[in-house]
Symmetry: C2
Subunit: 336 residues, 2 copies
Amino acid sequence: MRKYNIAVVGALGAVGREMLKTLEQREFPVEVIKPLDILSNAGTEIIFQGKPVVVQAAETGAFKDVDIALFSAGADASKILAPIAVAEGAIVVDNSSAWRMDDDVPLVIPEVNPDALSWHKGLIANPNCSTIQMLVALKPLHDQYGIKRIVVSTYQAVSGTGQKAIDELNQQIQDYVSASPIRSNVYPYQIAFNALPHIDIFLENNYTKEEMKMVHETNKILDKNISVSATTVRIPVFRSHSESINVEMKKPFVLDEIFTILKSAPGVVVVDNPAEAQYPMAIEAEGQDSVFVGRIRRDLSIENGLNLWVVADNLRKGAALNAVQIAETLVQKNLL
Amino acid sequence: MRKYNIAVVGALGAVGREMLKTLEQREFPVEVIKPLDILSNAGTEIIFQGKPVVVQAAETGAFKDVDIALFSAGADASKILAPIAVAEGAIVVDNSSAWRMDDDVPLVIPEVNPDALSWHKGLIANPNCSTIQMLVALKPLHDQYGIKRIVVSTYQAVSGTGQKAIDELNQQIQDYVSASPIRSNVYPYQIAFNALPHIDIFLENNYTKEEMKMVHETNKILDKNISVSATTVRIPVFRSHSESINVEMKKPFVLDEIFTILKSAPGVVVVDNPAEAQYPMAIEAEGQDSVFVGRIRRDLSIENGLNLWVVADNLRKGAALNAVQIAETLVQKNLL
């Protein structure tokens, strides 16, 4: 079986580390692993498949022997480096928002629109974490009933902002316990014991960029005719995003059918037993590959309405895992 | 000016303490304060208006000299004690869910439906915390544009469950910092660093009782024709509930008008300046009397749709303050 040279760009970040772990856990056929990061981190040693590997600088020339480069280095770095990597012969799977809405770049969730990979031109975008878990849950329902409108409110973990935000919540919690003053650097306000309706920057229409990502990415990946209204909120959770999703469908449904469809949907695990107080939870999704769906109930306020509570590990399915799955699909479909 | 004998039932609970504080802060004309609690707490001394007062047992006979009894002792206690208090001549303002949907009991938010107090028969119900803050924000919009449908997702503080839940979050945070095992007693699962889509018990339709309270109370207080879909979620915040509210109105609106209406609405403070990252937040609402409204933006997914982020202190406007405001309105309208 052929093996591949894989670069991970941003290898020391929260998502980069998870990409390396995911490649190991899923036994991706790696010939050579090439962890790349900013120049000042070059020389750092990491362990991959039990062996030490030295982190190199992510720069021109670093991609010449690379088959697939998994990027999680932020949008600014990606805008510069991804085209260089492609020019040097690598296929780039980019986790940033830099290329997602580019008409020449497929935006792919393997369970939802794997066929979009067929027209890639060297660069493939990984969707936003909040969009991925929502669409993995909604795709099988859209196929069956046709989704007309989505109203979603998110409960997002700090790890979505990166390692520095994880550190900040940790520090604020420790300062709270020791009755020290709580300081905020990563977020504009305290995140411990708070809820911030502010993820990414504010746009001219007074939505945040995170909210509009959920709109535009849903339209690009699933269906351009679906209307989406999003409110995205950061809460003091380390890992896994939760989403309260209200859906209006075109066709009538029987609730039992919804359960049946979701239980057999790829990437979905249904956790829904109110009598036993079972529903998806952030702390249980951590480290898991699946998208967990529960609180499945008919919306009594509108015809063909449905409510769902959807939870997934934002660093796994929301980022690293989806990128590795794209790489796996490229191999399976012989699209390298 | 006439002064009144006021009993606070459940005086040592989180809401009871806040009721006593609110009576002091708003200089309610109190002749005698009578803090009542369960028998085992009788004899405890509290301070009211700078003077020590002894807590007495909440029992038959305790309400004979009471003008107004503010109840926050839970639904079970209220079902037994509130009729006794009324029979003994007190007017009861009850914070539990016991009487809210009773046709003979007005369910009142003074900014929304004060006129319902006119037909009281000795017992008046205080709405659920989540309902109060939502309707204070939506009432002026309903008057102007007619609300057709509400989709709401909540981000609720542990203090809504009471002092024992505040203690549990505190303990879990301390155990996390000291790397001790985290135990859960009040909630079925860890609340620290988690989000629980489970408030109050599950009902036969798989909604929680908290979710259906928001439906039924909105219909009783504001308009029986408004459709409501609610998802209620507990998050690791000590105090103040946040709500992501999506509204579909009957009539078209200009967004500037919405700002103008909300800015002059009773009990509402608009905090909405995306350019300066200003929006309502739980940690800033704590201890405040107002309902804070922000993230005001047109819902792009439907005609006449609007999104709001609404935050209020669940122990103040969501409970104690609303009850004291009902007492104030009874005095003003001469309805004692």
